[in-house]
Symmetry: C2
Subunit: 345 residues, 2 copies
DNA sequence: TTGTATGCGTTATCAA
DNA sequence: TTGATAACGCATACAA
């Protein structure tokens, strides 16, 4: 059915070698030959078979992006930018979801049983060091870690400085005059690095203002979804005295938190100020609009993809760490700028 | 580096044929051979090369999902379910974005220059019939259309009944006692089928209640994002008399609409009732929570993937149309149930 | 500059 | 039941 290199060669009365040269843009091909080949290609509607090419060259042109769930706004936005960045470098992107399943993460890290199907992997996991420990950078396919400052310096990673980001968010609440500041997002059992680092930044900011972190005001959240934020907040508001501000470890947690405050008959930011992390678009239109820490996801995506491309070219590259910029964006939920002033539209 | 079938064969002192049989679970292999082979596989850490397998069998185990933008909640939710459905059938999913670019759509329909890289394609496009007209179902790779009732019956498609869905949403507003009902989502220039059908359903519902559609109350939206909904609503509210209800062709439009009503100093639903379509999670936590038409995306994803799988097996299958169920979900934005009653949490 | 021939790692055909 | 071997479609070493 589909034409092959050989079909084209026969039709153009040249060897497959010449056709291959033309197709792959090889320099030394006479103009006459090139034209002949090009016409045959046109006539046959020839399209190179990437699979055969891959078998020969070992490169698939495919990257794998692994996220917990693609429908979490932060990850879908990241995915969008990763796909675009990859496309600009000639790669296509496969997406896998771990669904918070450690075993699945471990499996995907091993190549998911399809080791040779992609040239490299972008891994945006919950992963503790545990899953990574078994992985040998020298033997596995090129890997870039996203969003986690793992304490494993054998791998490249691209992430924000979680400690500073959390510190900045908390400081913003303190600067708004709040003193009973709660946090949502510590993990109940797991020892993921992101929550740990955010908690560290949170405490550090309190400490700088001479405040002690109140244990009862530090709520855990199994996941980082709206439902988790809602539940955690509902429970925080039963404390007495109740918190006058909440730092949520994700914007989605914050969206749930805002609704919970409202459902409890209180107001944001008057009674409780709220800030998140991620800067998802939803927070620019919510009522009140959400103060947050904006992460430079385009930077993350571009850096990660180009580093991965580089590593695919040269697997011997030393592991490196890339820190993405972040900015605190005050909006209505902390009594800050109105939506119109927030750059939201 | 990586062990091949031949390496295993050498080590186990058998032919590659036997190893292949064991690996692919062929019936007629003596237990002794199987054990010998299995041990060699274990010792060498052998993993089959999917690319070579593909070259031979012609099947890659990859599906391509094409959406306008993966970070639109509706599409990311769909993607999530497609990926899961595909995984359960042994497929992995590549994602491509068209970014509202017709040329890009056309190109992807032609296989994106990588025709043989995936076994089939799920296409969730803006596509008019135009892009599809050039495509020959018999020659191109298996294709399922998502979300569009194209007037082209040469292809399978999975979609809701847009006319009825829009009719039901509008009827809900009418049942709430609203009489000046606006709509947002008609397309400025393009003739996509989805907006056309939703407009048809909208008018039909008005007509059934003896109302004439007011041209000035039918706002266009270039895309279906929050910003579009915000702008369109801001302009609708300048009409006089202003609308007392708005039917938005997507939930995202509705989120922008709610914020715009609020920014205009009015209230939802008291002054303006709002309903959307999609039932994204965001609308369950917003203030007010968003009345909407819930689409059965799990049904859409499962149906599309299994139909695609069937078509990959038998490309000769006749084109078929699958209609996904939808339900109107009244929430606060039309004065309906409170968040807690809405099944939102 | 172009042609010939080999191999990438599998599966499948044909014998044995 | 198992072995030898020919494809699958392409890129490239080697020759011409």
């Amino acid at each position: 059915m589909a034409a092959t290199l050989r079909d084209v060669a026969d039709r153009a009365q040249v060897s497959v070698r010449t056709v291959s040269n033309v197709v792959s843009g090889y320099e030394h091909v006479s103009e006459k030959m090139r034209q002949r080949v090009l016409r045959a290609i046109e006539e046959l509607g020839y399209i190179p078979n990437p699979v055969a090419r891959t078998l020969r060259t070992g490169k698939t042109g495919l990257l794998s992006l692994v996220v917990p769930e693609i429908d979490v706004p932060y990850f879908s936005q990241l995915a969008r930018e990763v796909i675009d960045a990859a496309a600009s470098l000639g790669f296509q992107v496969m997406i896998d979801q771990t669904g918070h399943d450690h075993e699945r993460e471990r499996q995907l890290l091993r190549g998911g049983g399809r080791r040779n199907l992609f040239d490299g992997m972008l891994f945006a996991p919950l992963a503790t060091g545990d899953e990574l420990r078994d992985v040998d950078p020298a033997r596995s396919s090129p890997l870039i870690l996203l969003g986690e400052h793992v304490f494993d310096h054998r791998f490249d990673h691209v992430a924000i400085d979680n400690v500073v980001a959390a510190h900045d968010a908390t400081t913003h609440l303190l600067d708004c005059g709040r003193t009973r500041i709660a946090a949502i997002g510590a993990q109940p059992k797991e020892m993921y690095s992101t929550p740990l680092q955010r908690t560290e930044g949170f405490r550090k900011a309190l400490d700088e203002h001479g405040l002690e972190p109140v244990t009862a005001l530090q709520a855990t959240a199994a996941h980082y979804g709206r439902a988790d934020g809602y539940e955690a907040t509902a429970s925080l508001l039963r404390e007495s005295p109740r918190p006058d501000a909440i730092f949520c470890y994700s914007d989605l947690l914050a969206m749930g938190a805002i609704r919970a405050v409202f459902d409890a008959g209180l107001r944001v930011p008057d009674d409780v100020a709220i800030i998140g992390i991620d800067d998802i678009e939803e927070g620019r239109y919510s009522r009140p609009s959400l103060s947050t820490v904006s992460l430079d996801t385009p930077f993350i995506a571009r850096t990660a993809v180009s580093r991965l491309a580089a590593r695919i070219e040269d697997p011997g590259l030393p592991a490196e760490e890339f820190v993405a910029p972040h900015t605190v964006i005050p909006r209505e939920s902390t009594g800050g700028a109105s939506r119109a002033d927030s750059g939201g539209v």
